[in-house]
C-alpha cells in the first residue's frame, strides 16, 4: 500500500494543471470551511451578540442603548414571573423526556412483534413524526376545544367531567404534553427499535437458559445493551424539550396567564412582542445555562456504555 505522500505525488503528476494540484492539496479545507464559516455567521455570531445584549437596555421602541451591567439579571431574579416560568420549563422538558422515552420503549418492544403486516404498522406509526409541528398544534387545539372538540364529546358520552382544557391553569401543561407526546412517543420508539434489533439474540437466550424471567432478561440484558442508544435518545429529547415552541404558542398561547409559558416562549414574548431586546437576551443567557446544566447532569448521571 502506497503512503499518503506517494499517492499525492502520483495524483499531482497525473492531474496536470497547477490549479488542480492546488485544489487537490487543499480539498479538505475547501470542502469544510464554507460550511464552518456559514455556521459561524448564523449561529456563533448571533450567540455572542445575544450574550452581549443581555448586559444592555436595548429596546426597539427607543433605540438608544447603553451597558447597564447586571441590571437585567437582577430584574429577572426579582421578577415574580421568573420562578413559575422556570418551573414550567422543567415541567415540560422532564415530563416530555420521561414519558416519551418510557412509552417509546414500550412501543419499540411491541414493534418487534413478528406477524403479518407489522411493516405496515411500523410505517403508520411514523406518520405523526412526519407531521409539521404547527399541524400538531392546531389539530390538538381543535381536539381539546371545550365545546366543539372531540375529547370532551367522548368524555361526555362516558359521563366523565368535561374540563375547559385550554382555560385551566392546572391542565394547560398536561395538554401541551399530551399533544407533543403524540409525535414524541413514535419518534423515540423508531430510534429505540433500531437499537433494540441490534441486541444479540444469543445474549438473551443465554439468560433465558439460565432461568431468568422475560422481565429480568429485558431489564438486565436488553436494556443494559441498549444504554448508548437510550442515552442519545434521552439527550436529544431533553434538547428538543427546551426548543418546544409552536405546540405552546398556538395551542395554549402560554396561558391562561403564564400557566404554560416556558422560558423559550417568554423570550419570544419579551423580545419580539414587547420589544425589550436587552431583557430578552438576558433571559436567553439563562436559558442557555439551563440547557448546559441539564446536558451536563445527563452526562454525569446516565450510564453511556453497555
Amino acid at each position: 500500500m502506497a503512503t499518503e505522500a506517494e499517492l499525492d505525488v502520483r495524483a499531482r503528476r497525473k492531474s496536470g494543471t497547477h490549479v488542480h494540484a492546488y485544489a487537490d492539496r487543499y480539498f479538505m479545507i475547501l470542502a469544510s470551511w464554507p460550511a464552518l464559516i456559514a455556521m459561524l455567521a448564523v449561529t456563533a455570531v448571533p450567540f455572542v451578540v445575544t450574550i452581549g445584549m443581555g448586559f444592555t437596555n436595548y429596546n426597539l421602541v427607543a433605540p438608544r442603548w447603553h451597558f447597564i451591567g447586571f441590571e437585567n439579571f437582577v430584574e429577572l431574579f426579582h421578577s415574580p414571573q421568573t420562578w413559575p416560568i422556570i418551573f414550567n420549563t422543567f415541567y415540560i422538558v422532564i415530563g416530555l423526556t420521561v414519558l416519551s422515552t418510557a412509552l417509546g420503549l414500550l412501543l419499540a418492544v411491541l414493534m418487534k412483534t413478528a406477524f403479518r403486516g407489522i411493516r405496515v404498522v411500523r410505517t403508520l406509526y411514523m406518520l405523526p413524526v412526519l407531521t409539521a409541528g404547527i399541524v400538531v398544534a392546531i389539530t390538538w387545539r381543535a381536539m381539546f376545544n371545550d365545546e366543539s372538540g372531540w375529547i370532551n364529546y367522548f368524555l361526555g358520552l362516558l359521563h366523565l367531567p368535561q374540563p375547559t382544557w385550554l382555560g385551566s391553569p392546572n391542565l394547560a401543561i398536561p395538554v401541551v404534553l399530551i399533544s407533543t407526546l403524540w409525535t414524541a412517543i413514535p419518534f423515540q420508539a423508531v430510534l429505540l427499535f433500531a437499537g433494540l434489533i441490534t441486541v444479540p439474540r444469543e445474549l438473551q437466550q443465554a439468560a433465558e437458559v439460565d432461568g431468568a424471567s422475560p422481565f429480568r432478561v429485558f431489564w438486565h440484558v436488553t436494556l443494559v445493551h441498549m444504554r448508548p442508544v437510550l442515552f442519545i435518545v434521552i439527550l436529544l429529547r431533553l434538547i428538543e424539550g427546551f426548543r418546544l415552541f409552536e405546540q405552546i404558542q398556538v395551542l395554549t398561547t402560554g396561558g391562561p396567564g403564564i400557566a404554560s409559558t416556558p422560558l423559550g416562549l417568554q423570550i419570544y414574548n419579551t423580545g419580539l412582542l414587547y420589544q425589550r431586546l436587552g431583557y430578552a437576551a438576558a433571559m436567553g443567557v439563562v436559558l442557555v445555562l439551563l440547557v448546559a446544566i441539564t446536558v451536563g447532569v445527563t452526562f454525569l448521571v446516565l450510564p453511556r456504555r453497555s
Binding site: D24, V42, G133, I134, M143, I239
Partner: protein
Amino acid sequence: MRRRRSGILALRILLLLIGLVLIGIPFLWIVLTAFKQPVVADASPPVFISPLTLDNFRTLFQDGYAHSLLNSVIITTLATGSTLLFGIPAGYAFARGKFRGRGFFGAFLLFSRMVPPVIYIVPLFLFFHLLNLIGSFTGLTLAYLTGLLPFTVWMSASYFQGVPVELEEAARVDGCNRFKAFFRIVLPLALPGVVSVGLLIGIAAWSEYFIPLILGGFSTEPATVGIVDFVGVDGSSWGPMAAGALCLIVPVFLATLLAQRSLLDGLTAGALKG
C-alpha cells in the same frame, strides 16, 4: 406453553392496534373536517357526518393559501439545496479527515445542536433589518441553515464513514485527483444516505414555523405561518384550517411513501451513529 405464547402475541397486537387508533384520531379529525360544510365543521357538540364539500379548500385558496404553499415550495427548495451544497462536502471532510479546525468544528456541531433557536433569532432579526433581508427568501434560507446545516454535516459524515477508504485510494492510484475521486467514487456510493439526509432536511424545512414567523414577510410567508391566520380568537374556522393542514401533510406523506426505506434508515442512522 404454546397457548400462553399465542396469548402474549394477541395482547401485543391488541396494544399495537390501540396505539394506532390513538395515533389515527387526530388524522381522522383533519380528513373529516377538511371536507365538511363550514357550518358543520364548527358545530358544537361536534357533528361527525356531513355532506362532502370542497368549500373549505375554496375559502382557503381565496385567502391566498396557494401563494403560501408556493412560498413553502420555494423556501424548502432553496434551504434544502443550499444546505446540501455546503453540508455534504463538509460531512465528507469531517468523516475523512485531518484538516485545520476539525476539533473546533466537531465541538461547534454539538454546541449548535444544543442551543435553542430562540437564542439566534433576535440578533438575526437585527442583522437582517440592517441588511434589508427581512421577508426575503435569501434571509430565510440563511436563517434555515442554523438548524439544518449542523444536522446535515453530522449525518452525512456518518454515511461517508461507511464508504471504504481503500476504494478511494485505488481510484487515486489510477489517476483520479481528490475531486474526481469524490464525485465518481465516494458520492455515488454514499448516495442513498445523501438522499435520505436530503429528504429529512426537506421535511424539516417544509415544517419550519418559528423562523418564518419572525423573519418572513407578507409576500414570502410559507403555509405553516399562513395556516395560523385561520386560528381565530374563538377558534371558529376549523374547516379551512383542517383543509390547510391536509395540504401540509399530504406532500410529506407521499414523499415518505416513495422513499420509505431510505428515510427510516436515515432517521435511525442519525441517532445511532451521531
